[in-house]
């Protein structure tokens, strides 16, 4: 069974997708409190993701999760660039695997916290 990835869209990402033709693919999560894109991942690409990223797993919804933040960021870049949510965007990320892994290694030590008052 093919699994999927959920790409979360904050305001910045939503703005970047305006005019991309993907607006009608945007889904509501948690009653519209979050927006996202469901990206189906064919089995052979899922296998590659699992091989390349030890932390990746399938959660109880059938979604591929626990990939590095850099993976999701690159995935969004590919979606915006290719104006698609087809398998080619996953291929696009996997073609940039070294770049993703390099960024992920840096991000395993430090992630900038959100700028909110605590």
């Amino acid at each position: 069974m093919a699994h999927f990835m959920v790409l979360l869209l904050d305001e910045k990402r939503l703005n970047a997708l305006k005019g991309s033709g993907l607006e009608d693919k945007i889904i509501d999560l948690f009653g519209g409190a979050l927006k996202g894109l469901n990206i189906e991942v064919p089995e052979e690409l899922e296998k590659k993701i699992m091989e390349e990223f030890a932390s990746a797993r399938i959660d109880s919804r059938g979604a591929i999760t626990d990939v590095p933040v850099a993976f999701n960021r690159t995935l969004f870049e590919e979606v915006a660039k290719q104006k698609s949510i087809g398998p080619e965007v996953i291929e696009g990320v996997l073609n940039r695997i070294n770049e993703v892994k390099e960024a992920a290694a840096k991000e395993s030590e430090y992630l900038p916290p959100p700028d909110i008052e605590v």
């Binding site: 797993r57 960021r73 605590v118």
Partner: protein, 455 residues
């Protein structure tokens, strides 16, 4: 009084074990002239990464969380536990607990039966162990027997345990020599903030229940920052009780060795605290506490230990969910429910642990799942809500991904007060989850400091 009223159960074994010397002068006398051993973390048998620290077991035993266990188990006791999950005094108990050392350390220490060993933690006197027996174990065999196999325990074990299972790894990584005997803490450790304000050993916890007027209390096991799904689980499970809902909810966070990707312990305890400081559950009805233990992830066996810990703390009920304290698919996802409703004969329980002699009195409350339903417009219970297509599950890994991307979670996922705790510790550690640096530092510094004590 109505016979429907449920009273607080006695501790498991009938009385609370308390093996802590509060007077330092007595502690010094007890340890004078004893050979000393510096407690070392148990290191992964292949990678050398810390997977356990026996100090946590000594603390939980001596403060009574594991009553009636009083020390490192003898060989006969370990064998009985593996066979029937019972101590030699008949009371049920799920896991072997031993003080293990290497052959080299044993030779250096030069102790034998009848000797007392001073155990030092972070270079300072901590506890003594009165040696009753010295024996050798076979760690791989002990690891297999502790968790069971598909052949020996077909009711619930689905896969053979291996090095991907963190509990199996703990037993597999033990040293071969066991010093068995009772522990006594002679120099009380001091918890560092924020753990100090959540340290409620069983006697104090029972006193706190009295102070709060709780006759009935339901325990919530956690090793997670609470999302709104957890909050609804707590609130709804607490509707059980006797003639009225439970008077209180005891959150008991298991504090121990962390794995990469977990939330830091500091965020977990303060995150739960934020549920009541934020007013989502009244503080008069919600209490956050900790127990030191390196999780074995033994699903039904772990649930048994949780039942023992929380009965000792004074709880009348315990909530259990699907895949309770589980990792991977080694056990049936409902193994805990099978144990508490039918029993698991191959583990020594032909009936549930509340119906066997020398068993438990705490009552299980088996809960299914809570999800967000946009059609109901609320957090819904899976056995109520029939909008299975519309449902939005609280996937922990999805939420971790959202946090890592720095997206402010909506209030239906995290209460803002809880999320701010996550960000507070994120700012402190430079990372929202446990990374390699956090894991190493934690096992070096542990959760406690010890006062100076000259012996």
């Amino acid at each position: 009084m109505s016979n429907l009223i449920i009273e607080r159960p006695l501790p498991h074994g009938g009385r609370l074990v308390e093996r802590v010397v509060r007077d330092p002068e007595i502690g010094k006398k007890m340890a004078k002239g004893c050979p000393a051993y510096d407690i070392k973390p148990t290191l992964h048998f292949e990678t050398g990464v810390p997977v356990r620290n026996v100090y946590r077991e000594i603390m939980s035993i001596c403060y009574g969380f594991f009553s009636p266990v009083e020390g490192s188990m003898t060989q006969a006791e370990v064998e009985r536990i593996l066979k029937e999950r019972r101590l030699l005094n008949e009371w049920i108990f799920p896991y072997p607990l031993v003080f293990d050392i290497s052959k080299e350390d044993y030779q250096k220490l030069g102790v034998t039966v009848g000797d007392r060993v001073l155990l030092r933690l972070k270079g300072k006197p901590f506890a003594v162990l009165d040696v009753e027996e010295v024996y050798e174990i076979d760690p791989p065999e002990l690891a297999d027997k502790t968790f069971g196999t598909p052949e020996d325990n077909p009711e619930v074990v689905r896969e053979r345990f291996d090095k991907k299972h963190p509990g199996w790894v703990i037993y597999r990584s033990l040293n071969p020599i066991v010093l068995a005997g009772k522990y006594t803490i002679i120099n009380e450790p001091k918890f560092r903030p924020p753990f100090d304000r959540f340290w409620l050993p069983p006697r104090k916890c029972r006193e706190k229940f009295d102070e709060l007027g709780w006759r009935t209390a339901i325990a919530h096991q956690t090793r997670n920052v609470p999302h709104v799904g957890h909050e609804f689980l707590m609130k709804n499970a607490a509707y059980t009780g006797d003639v009225e809902p439970c008077h209180g909810i005891l959150v008991n966070a298991i504090i121990g060795v962390k794995r990469r990707g977990d939330y830091p312990d500091e965020a977990i305890v303060e995150g739960h605290e934020a549920v009541h400081t934020g007013g989502y559950i009244k503080p008069e009805r919600h209490l956050v506490s900790i127990c030191l233990w390196d999780m074995r992830y033994g699903n039904p066996l772990e649930s048994l230990l949780h039942g023992i810990i929380r009965q000792n703390m004074g709880c009348t009920h315990h909530m259990f969910g699907r895949d309770h304290a589980a990792v991977g698919e080694y056990y049936d996802m409902y193994a805990t429910q099978i144990l508490w409703t039918k029993g698991i004969p191959s583990f020594g329980f032909d009936k549930p642990p509340t119906e066997v002699p020398y068993g438990l009195h705490i009552k299980p409350q088996n809960m299914k799942e809570f999800w967000y339903c946009p059609k109901c417009g609320e957090i819904a219970y899976s056995d109520n809500c029939n909008h299975t297509k519309e449902k939005q599950k609280f996937s922990g890994s999805f939420i971790r991904g959202m946090v890592a991307e720095g997206i402010f979670p909506p209030g239906v996922i995290f209460r803002p007060e809880v999320y701010k705790v996550v960000v507070k510790w994120w700012k402190h550690f430079g990372y929202p989850f446990c990374n390699e640096k956090y894991v190493k530092e934690k096992e070096k510094n542990l959760e406690v400091d010890l006062p100076d004590m000259d012996i």
